[in-house]
Subunit: 565 residues, 2 copies
């Protein structure tokens, strides 16, 4: 099966659905013209389709393995990484001062979607490296920047994020890793970290770990945490990889999927580290790193969904059971719904990236709030769609989908991590109804107003679609108001369905814009979304408002199956 | 993680939710008293929890493999199969004349749920053997019955179903396997079959294949197909396994899950077969075999869901992230919804089995129609719930769910086959809106009338629950009427969402009955279902009635991502 990078689909969204033209009008991103963007996307798409996608099955067939404490990556992955690095794709959005291209995040995320769709396990490496670059750009000292950024941006070295510990996952503040001041400006970092993606690799000459740890005078919880740069090989005076640091890969996890991505248990034993940001101020840097990665993970979901759907459509076209099965109404329903959801998720992710770019270029607070509001939705909906479409892909293949040979099952196994890492989708939803509604719903209402205005304006040309979108947005506005009046635990109980409802309404809105700007096929796709996906937002909102009482009334024992009490 | 067989939950449903008491009142099943049933379920539950569940991970860790053309089963599976056979569990519902216990299907399915929950890969063997037993009981000659049934019922031999070929999956009529008359009453069977579950095994001394093939004068399509018994070892004059037949296992599939279940490519090369049923009448026997297996697969979904949920609840109780995560509203929501869906799916499966039993015992046409109507719903909803709950189980485990070590991912991988085999869930839904509504909706309406009456009667005690159920059933009745007026292709386009809606309404109805008969925890669970699961039936019905136009308007190219046209 060949993956074809969805360059035209992405360009259509950037040019007609999300306000990327506003990004182009800013001074900072004036270079990102339609022509330049198009050239960049085509080039990246070519690499994704021609270089990375053919390596995707290798990750599964020859998983990354640990040999004498060193990770050996899957066959061909070193070449694949090299192609990404040499294309300059790691640094698309990075600071030109250090070798980056300084282009908008929207283009970076578009490229990330294609590389992830082509080869998720491999793409995790540049994705995390980009997160590290962003954290260093915002929080590191000039000396650290000068030393690390050029190497990370060029892909000579790669970067990791070390947050999780056995007892500290979603509760980052519970971590026990320690750091001590060495007196020479460096620190000694000790502790065990788990789930470290690409914690070691033979595709780069050094691996740079950003590690969260607590100084002796760091208080409890998240406020006592500091962030350290802990390189695998300590750079020598000329900045080349020097002596080995006191850290090691203890083991690799055996996982459901992304076998080409080594997931490491890391041990730091008095490893030399350099502070990034302020002492006890590690969480701020971590959030910078995670925000970029959260959107990136949503985009991964979209990428894998695209690849899985392309394969399912190809199979359904070839497979004959009383005619090509793509002609069977139920198979058509599955494929069309998947295509409609992919469009919606992609548009939400690119809208989020566009808001980030506007914030970066203008410092505008509304854009910042928009980006912050859309990030958890993009992450959760993008990855939900990734899983849903990959699952549908297996189903469309029938028995052949359950056989590993076709690759349909690999997409499902690979993408299943995305609703979990970088904050589970439950955590994303809690962020949405907690922190992101903490402005009294201002950002949410501004977004809904825009949707309502758009829907009104579209009434003449597309009355049916526009009415559905208007009605849904109006209902969502009322539900948002009701959500604001609830206690935090009640909001949390309704968080996931509320996020789903918001994503469906946003998706319908973007479909409406596409119907206005595009051809007959965009209208048809919008109709599929409005008839088959949007209507589920009502039940989402019913559940979002169901409160907590029924969940409290049901005992833990009954949840386990014991109704005797 | 220990699996605890849900004996009390099953007994509650049999005694208070589905009309199993009516089965007990028939002459045929008078022995299945509450006491006897309870003893049987406890005994089977003990075996499932203590013998089969501890072997479940072995299937994954030491998959069945092919050595010199022979299947070597996973470690301990031979002992597990022996325990099932020696307990008499294969023949619970089989004819006592041949060594069966002659008990109701409801008890058989209850036991099947527990064995499947404990060890899906292993349980497939007795499940398919039971399907073969049933086919032989109804369609084989007395001589074949006398030879094969005692050995299959005792578990000395096992049985397989050979339908699928590379070009003939859902379209069984496209098969190309051939049979020729040998002139001595036997036949020569040739062809290749794929996806043959437990197509060979070292846990029984013989493997009996029921093979669909076409005689030279068999017409095209399903009407020209005959069914043959083709044993691996041809029984000698005393009925013991004799010379090897001309058949072989070509290879085993590498699958997403159920690694302990060998999925064989079988080749028949003039193998000696004996006709089962009439020449060209193989489909009737196949449907007998498949009907039993379809319900059995729905039950598998429920079984795995139960096991996965038990593990998720246990994990959520132990895992501390700012308190035990089972106390977090969103985790509670996931677990409670899963428990509510398992109850609904289990009740639907047992209601279906009860209808089969009433049909068997009384020959009553209404019971037959009820059983036929509920079978596709039980299969599809049971397996959907299986996948949904196993998926939720992974999510509740967070990162640990993605790591194979916990076993959460195995449940997801294993259960993912169930919406595919024995007719995909799409095929089930087409059966529901096609064949099962071909009576002008009589069976559906009779069921809905019952729900409406029940809801009315419950209004005094549980006004809120009863009103929700009544309203939903009334809406579903209208939607069913509308469905009947549509063309078949339009019905097919709406088949899956229609089936989902029906399952939710049925589930809510059974929850209402449980709330009436049970304690406070059953009321709480019913409230969870009515608040969080039932409301989705409205969107299901919107989609069920969306017709075919939007799916036709969207081109194949657009589904693949090309909107240019």
């Amino acid at each position: 099966m060949t993956y074809e990078a969805p360059v035209a689909q992405i360009e259509f969204i950037l040019n007609h659905v999300v306000p990327f033209s506003e990004v182009r009008r800013t001074g900072l991103f004036a270079e990102a013209t339609e022509e330049t963007s198009s050239a960049i996307l085509s080039e990246a798409g070519k690499m994704a389709s021609q270089v990375l996608a053919p390596l995707n099955r290798n990750g599964d067939h020859t998983p990354a393995r640990l040999e004498n404490g060193k990770v050996r990556s899957s066959e061909g992955f070193a070449d694949g990484f090299r192609a990404i690095a040499e294309g300059g794709w790691i640094g698309i959005a990075a600071d030109p001062e250090y070798g980056g291209m300084g282009l908008p995040q929207a283009l970076n995320m578009a490229v990330a979607e294609m590389t992830a769709g082509a080869n998720l396990a491999l793409q995790l490496n540049p994705l995390l490296t980009q997160g590290q670059i962003e954290a260093l750009e915002h929080h590191a000292s000039d000396a650290l920047k000068a030393l690390y950024l050029p190497k990370l941006i060029s892909g000579e070295w790669s970067g990791t994020m070390n947050l999780t510990e056995p007892g500290a996952g979603s509760d980052v503040g519970a971590l026990t890793s320690k750091a001590e001041r060495n007196g020479d400006g460096t620190y000694s970092v000790s502790g065990q970290k788990i789930f470290i993606t690409w914690g070691d690799s033979d595709v780069t000459s050094n691996v740079c770990h950003l590690v969260l740890a607590r100084l002796p005078d760091g208080g409890k919880g998240t406020k006592g945490i500091s962030l350290f740069m802990v390189p695998k090989l300590i750079p020598d005076e000329s900045g080349n990889p020097g002596v080995a640091n006191s850290l090691k890969v203890v083991s690799l996890e055996e996982k459901l999927g992304i076998h080409g991505s080594p997931t490491c248990v890391m041990s730091y034993e008095g490893a030399t580290g350099w502070l990034v940001g302020e002492e006890h101020g590690g969480m701020a840097a971590m959030f910078t790193m995670m925000n970029c990665a959260r959107l990136g993970v949503g985009v991964q979901g979209v990428g894998v969904a695209e690849a899985a759907l392309q394969q399912a459509v190809a199979y359904a076209t070839e497979r004959n059971q009383m005619g090509p099965i793509i002609q069977h109404p139920d198979v058509r329903r599955m494929l069309a719904t998947s295509r409609a959801e992919i469009f919606a998720a992609r548009a939400i992710c690119l809208a989020c990236a566009t808001a980030i770019d506007l914030e970066t270029a203008t410092g505008d607070a509304d854009s910042a709030a928009r980006a912050a509001f859309l990030t958890p939705i993009a992450k959760a909906y993008g990855t939900d769609v990734g899983c849903r479409v990959a699952d549908t892909g297996v189903q469309v293949h029938g028995g052949m989908g359950y056989v590993e040979e076709t690759g349909a099952a690999q997409y499902l196994r690979d993408v299943r991590i995305t609703p979990i890492y970088e904050g589970t989708n439950g955590i994303q939803a809690m962020d949405l109804v907690g922190r992101k509604l903490a402005d009294g719903g201002e950002a949410a209402m501004r977004l809904l107003d825009e949707i309502l205005d758009d829907a009104k304006a579209a009434q003449a040309g597309h009355p049916d679609l526009a009415n559905h979108v208007w009605q849904a947005a109006e209902t969502l506005r009322e539900a948002t108001q009701a959500m604001l009046e609830r206690s935090l635990p009640e909001r949390f109980a309704g968080a996931v369905p509320y996020l789903h409802a918001f994503a469906r309404v946003l998706g319908a809105h973007f479909h409406l814009r596409a119907a206005k700007a595009g051809g007959a096929q965009h209208v048809a796709l919008a109709q599929v979304f409005v008839a088959r996906v949007l209507p589920r937002f009502s039940a989402d909102l019913v559940e979002a408002q169901a409160g907590l009482d029924d969940l409290t009334a049901l005992s833990d024992a009954a949840m386990a199956g014991d109704f005797a009490a």
